[in-house]
């Protein structure tokens, strides 16, 4: 066993206070912006703008507050893999719900067992 004088330290990257406060200020500003933009009618783009701001805020929290920028490549790979899996879940579920009713539209001779026109 090593004695306490020969302890190998945890080589941590210690963030600067200014960096943390800067991220906090940016997050607050983005929160105000997203709340203000929501009062303007942008049609479909209200959702798009809200999500772009949310993704930016989440990335800032993950990258700086959660320290992903100073983690190992393996941890970064895990983080990205998690997001890819989330994408697979949303994409495949959405494609299912979008295309469920297509079968009978593409085959007009077939009878829809649900009866009537599909949605």
């Amino acid at each position: 066993m090593t004695s306490s004088e020969h302890v190998t330290p945890v080589h941590a990257h210690i963030p600067k206070v200014g960096t943390l406060v800067g991220v906090w200020a940016t997050l607050v500003v983005f929160t105000v912006i997203t709340a203000l933009v929501a009062t303007v009618n942008l049609g479909e783009f209200n959702v798009v703008v809200a999500l772009i701001i949310a993704v930016t805020k989440a990335s800032l929290v993950a990258w700086i507050f959660m320290g992903v920028r100073h983690t190992t490549s393996l941890t970064k790979l895990f983080v990205v893999a998690g997001l890819v899996w989330l994408g697979i879940m949303i994409l495949i579920t959405a494609s299912d719900y979008t295309s469920r009713t297509w079968t009978y539209q593409a085959q007009p001779w077939a009878t829809n067992p649900a009866g009537g026109k599909s949605r």
Binding site: V7, I14, W24, A38, A50, A54, A58, T75, V79
Partner: protein
């Protein structure tokens, strides 16, 4: 002090790194802990992701009914809670920093600040839930939608998702407050220092993750469709 019998690979003293025998160095142990914590957080991403997927699908199927619920969402309360959580994330990051620098007093200070912000969030959330109950907007219990009777069924799906998502989020906050109390006790016992602060860092990751969930809940539940008003 009399002889202290320490477990194998486990040192005792001010520089105790809690190094387990299957790790070569404290740095390697820290990397493993970080990877493990992120693996857990990915399962949490997919857990909340399932509810976000359900929200997206139903919003696509019933856009008009979902838009009609915007006027019942209190944007001021939602925005206030967003700011409160962002502040708690800053104090949590400062707590981790204090532990990294072996600054015990400021670790305790920032942990308490984080807990105050977390509790404030839950109290505000409680008032919001109470308002929803008074306005007869709790699906399955007292739901009534007299302004838009045509949406009485489909709007309930949104409020069901609202209570599921914010409820699970609030439950995570309660768990987080419990974990922070554990850090507070251990921190006051001088357990954490520059060479051992893994629990502070890991619970910090959890706390920031819960903040990220709210960063998505706020625009999706409160803001989209807000311009109608």
């Amino acid at each position: 002090m009399a002889e202290t019998i320490a477990p194998i690979g486990h040192e005792v003293g001010a520089a105790d790194t809690h190094l387990r025998h299957h790790f070569a160095t404290p740095a390697q142990q820290m990397d493993a802990a970080t990877l493990g914590m992120w693996t857990f957080l990915i399962t949490e991403v997919l857990f909340f992701g399932g509810m976000f997927t359900a929200y997206a699908i139903y919003r696509g199927i019933y856009p008009a009914a979902f838009a009609s619920t915007s006027e019942y969402m209190n944007v001021k309360i939602g925005a206030t809670n967003t700011i409160v959580l962002i502040c708690s994330s800053l104090t949590m990051a400062m707590a981790v920093r204090s532990a990294q620098l072996s600054k015990r007093a400021s670790l305790i200070k920032y942990l308490i600040a984080t807990m105050i912000f977390g509790t404030a969030f839950l109290v505000i959330k409680g008032f919001e839930y109470h308002a929803k109950w008074v306005e007869h907007l709790v699906p399955g219990f007292n739901f009534a939608f007299p302004e838009h009777p045509e949406f009485v069924h489909n709007a309930q799906i949104l409020f069901f998702l609202y209570f599921c998502m914010t409820g699970m989020h609030a439950l995570h906050m309660v768990v987080g407050l419990g974990l922070l109390s554990y850090l507070l006790i251990q921190g006051s016992r001088r357990v954490f220092h520059a060479n051992y602060y893994a629990p502070v860092e890991m619970i910090g990751l959890y706390w920031h993750f819960v903040d990220i969930v709210w960063i998505f809940l706020f625009p999706l539940l409160y803001l989209i469709g807000h311009w109608h008003l």
